[in-house]
Every structure is written in C-alpha cells, then in structure tokens.
C-alpha cells in the first residue's frame, strides 16, 4: 500500500478516484440546486457564481446534475464490473484448475462471446428488455467477463503446478479448498488491475448508452444523458457538453492510471 502511494501514476489515479467517490457520497451537500427542478427564468445560462457550470435548456443546474450523475455512473461501473469479475473468477478458476474438457468448453464459450461485438450486443439486449439502471448494470456485467476469465485461467494454469498445491493435496485438501484458499489469493493482483481497468470501461459504456438514449433514462441524471441533452444546443451553450465530457474523460483516465500503477507494482521485472 505504501509502495502504491509512491508510484506517481497510482497516486494521481487514486486521488482522482477518491475525489469522485467523495463527490458521489456527498452529493446532497455539494449540490447547489435540486438536480431535477426546472427553472424557466434561468434557461441556458453560462457558468457563473449562481450556477457554477451554467444551466440547461430547462433551466436545471448543470453542476448539481453532474454531482448526482456521478453517483449513477460510479454505481453502474462498480456493479457491472463486480458482476463481470465474479463470473470471470468463477469460470476462470474452474477452467484453469480442472483443465481438459472443462477448460476447452469454457474457453470456446469465451471465444464465442468475444466474437460478438460487445457494444452492439449490449445495444440489442437493452433494446429488447428495455433501459433501466438495473438492466444496464447487469447487461454490461454479463457481456464483459471474458477478459477476467482468461486472466484468471492463465494464472491458475501456472499456479496449480506449484509445489504448495501438491503439498496441500498431500495433506488431504479438497479441490474447492485448493482453489479458494491456496490459489486464488495469488491471482489477486492481476484481478485488481482488470477490475480497475474494467471500471473505466464500464463507465464509458454506460455514458455511450445514455448518449444514444437507451441508457439511464431522464429525468435521472447521468453524465451520458447530460451530454446527450447538451448536443442540441452545442452551438449556443458549450458548457452543456464540455463538462460531462470532461468528467467522463477524467474518470476513465483516473481508473486507467490506478490500474497501470498496480500493474507496475505487481510486475517483478519493473521492480527496482
């Protein structure tokens, strides 16, 4: 942990994410206006001291909407990646530990899933079952576990040959015990990297879906749909598009930096 703080990339990423998490947590205290309250006397105002990031075409405060939107974006990211990681860890460890036919079947399934362009699959499924925050989280989760699966499988393939696994087996340990207690902890580092990278990706997908209008539905604010609503007035109100865009960029960047930092620390070749 201390080493993580000494790594400039991880530190920068960590600060960004900590800041975002705080914003999301303290949303009710930070927001200056009700994010859903229209105000016809204050339509499309530029950023000022009254409205930090200006107002939209219904007179809603963009700053407050973005603060609340951070909650949705982070939540969608966390839960979607959580689902993907759980699926990936389970399938990956089974695949890597048992090998043979089990491995072939799971890996071919992964290949099939990877053949389908994920984003269009998500689009199609959401179009079918209807957009809601819950649906989006689940659909992103169940379409993005393949990377984690391959990663965990690769780790297990090398770890299961290690002597301590043989020793635990010689002591009479059962397979599920070997998987959960003896092997999985060793794979934690790459899983963390994948988790962090996945978070940035999931937030990005959610924003893209909301931008296309089949993500988080108005009036619930998310960075993606603030961006969408802003695009109609982009020629007269730049702040409607620029700020949510920046927020997405910074968030994704933050997660990537953190992931890169963790990866660097866990790679023995880069250690001094």
């Amino acid at each position: 942990m201390r080493k993580l703080l000494q790594n400039p990339q991880a530190l920068a990423g960590g600060i960004i994410i900590l800041f975002l998490a705080l914003v999301a947590l303290l949303a009710p205290y930070l927001s200056t206006h009700d994010p859903g309250e229209p105000n016809l006397w204050a339509i499309l105002l530029p950023p000022s001291s009254g409205h930090l990031l200006g107002t939209d075409d219904l007179g809603r405060d963009v700053f407050s909407r973005m603060v609340y939107g951070s909650r949705i974006s982070l939540l969608v990211g966390l839960i979607a990646v959580g689902i993907a990681s759980v699926i990936g860890i389970i399938l990956g460890s089974i695949s890597g530990f048992y090998g043979k036919y089990t491995d072939s079947i799971i890996m071919r399934f992964v290949d099939i899933m990877l053949c389908i362009p994920t984003f269009f699959l998500i689009l199609a499924v959401i179009a079918l079952i209807g957009p809601s925050i819950f649906n989006i989280m689940v659909v992103i989760g169940v379409t993005s576990w393949m990377g984690v699966t391959r990663l965990v499988r690769a780790e297990f393939l090398s770890l299961r040959e290690r002597e301590f696994v043989l020793a635990a087996r010689a002591a009479g340990a059962k397979n599920h015990r070997l998987i959960i207690r003896h092997i999985l902890p060793h794979a934690l580092n790459p899983i963390m990297v994948a988790f962090t990278l996945g978070l940035g990706g999931a937030i990005f997908i959610e924003s893209a879906l909301s931008f296309l209008g089949i993500g988080v539905q108005p009036p619930t604010p998310s960075w993606g749909n603030i961006l969408t609503e802003g695009k109609d007035n982009i020629d007269i109100a730049w702040w409607l598009s620029v700020f949510p865009g920046l927020a997405i960029l910074i968030t994704v960047l933050g997660f990537y930096l953190l992931a890169e930092g963790i990866r660097e620390l866990s790679n023995p070749r880069l250690k001094k």
């Binding site: 301590f164 020793a167 002591a171 009479g172 059962k174 015990r177």
Partner: protein, 324 residues
Amino acid sequence: MPVLLEVDNLQTHFFTPEGVIRAVDGISFDLSAGETLGLVGESGSGKTVTALSILRLVPPPGRIVEGKIEFAGQDLLKLTPSELRKIRGNRIAMVFQEPMSALNPVLTVGSQVLESVRLHQKVSRWEGRDKTVELFKLVGIPSPEIRFKAYPHQLSGGMRQRVMLAMALAGKPDLLLADEPTTALDVTIQAQVLDLLDKLKKNLGMSVLFITHDLGIIAEHADRVAICYAGKIVELAPVRELFARPAHPYSQGLINSIPKMFSGGKDLKLSALPGTVPDLKNLPPGCRFEPRCPRALPLCRKYDSEQKTIRPGHLAACINPLNQ
C-alpha cells in the same frame, strides 16, 4: 512387526509427446510398522515418483500403469477420491524437499498447519489453534505463539522444514513419506531435523519412507535400504548388511563414493561412478546398469536380471553379484 505398506510391481510412466518415460518401472518393497526404509538413488531414479504414486498424486502426463499398493489392508489404487482424501495427510503424510516452495507464501504458517489439523479432526478454530501451537512445540519451534503468525519467507530454512513436519504430523499419520527432507538445509540444521525426525518416529510409532541420495544419512537413520537405479530397485537389504556386504555393483559404487574419514593414509581419492543414468525413454535391453558396470558380463547386455534373494532379507538384481 506387521507389514504396513506393500508395494508390488509398481509402474508409473509419463506419457510425453517425445515418448513414454518409465520413471518407475516395476518397484516392489514392503514396510513394517515402526520401520524406516531408506530409498536411495540418483536424481531421476524414480524415488520421488514412487512416493507420489503411493499418495496417488502423480502429476500428468504421469500415470500409474500397473502394480499394487497395499496400505493397512487397503489397495490404494482402487480407492475413490474421497476415500483417498481420508488417507492423505491423515494416515499417510508427506514432507517435501524444498519447504519454501511447499508452503504457500501468501498464508501464515500457523494457518497452514491449522488447516491440516482441521482437515482431519473435528475441532473448532480455537481448539485447532491450541493443537497447532502444540505441534509447533513438538517439532521444536521456539515461541510457537509468535511463529503462528509468521509468513514462510520470515522463517529460516530449518524452521520452515519444522513447519512442514508439523503439518505432516497434524493427522498423526502411520506412515511418513519424507522426500529428501534435509537436502535443502545446511549440515548442522540437517542433523537437528534428522534427530527430531528420529525422536518423533520413536515417540509416535510411525513408519518412515525416507527418500534421499545421501547414503550417509541412511546409514544412521534407516533400518533397511532400497537402492534405486533407473526406475528399479537394484538392491534391498538391512542397513548393516548393505554397507558390509553390498551385492550390486551400483551399491558398491555408491558406497565407494562416500568420503571416508579414516583411510589409513592411502586411497585418499574419492571414486566416482563413471557415466550417467540411462535415458528412461529408451532403456538398454539388458541390465540398466550394464553400460556403467565394472563387472558387466556379455550376458548382462542381453538379459535383465531378476531380483534374487542373496541372503535372508537381502535382495539384489544382478547376474554377477559381489561378496558372494
């Protein structure tokens, strides 16, 4: 003494793309309760694979293709996986050569020993903890309560091997498979661990299959010796008998390669066995030792010699044995 373990014509082969490696090719021996049998041989002579075969833990592409392993009246080769797990660690335990790689680096040594305790005894976490601390005391780990929370890398080699021993003893096994338990240790620690092993064996009444390439250790700590060569046992005899009157030229060669302290001023040169172990993928048609054997006869190239009783309790597989 009743026979505890009987291995009969065990054959464990590895099916690699380059061909079949006959790592263990017809090994037979028996082990009585409370006895220590030394299994001696060079690297690649099939010692470790024999031990792994007894626990049925031969890693793929290895497979036990033939033979019988009878332990306390049960044929181990016919047990189901769950029956096997009741034997592993509980009735037969194994100590590995390199404790650093046999201990899990991310778990504390205490929790690993505790796991072994709880795998075989229905005890609560707290009772198990007490038992673990007791085991640590038994194997001579100082301040066991503090060591409980240590990670493997924080302990010295000797301490790690003691932890391995504690893990192996957790199930109070009848048979301990010790696979070169002292090879990774320096000489003084080696002596400590060996004495400890002897003491534990006496107090707990275990049988030990002691695998090593060090005949010096065998001379002091084993009751009987089996000499392995290229997947076969070439000679099996009580320790004194083997050192006094070895029958197989290979055994003789091994004994000659031990440095002697009192050579009377002459013969100070150590004799080494010329040549290396044959390729296990294509073994010579006759005796496996023939290419290196100083006493080889023309016959040895054609026929592989069967094991014969030379004297009561002394078996050797040689057409032209020594000290007849």
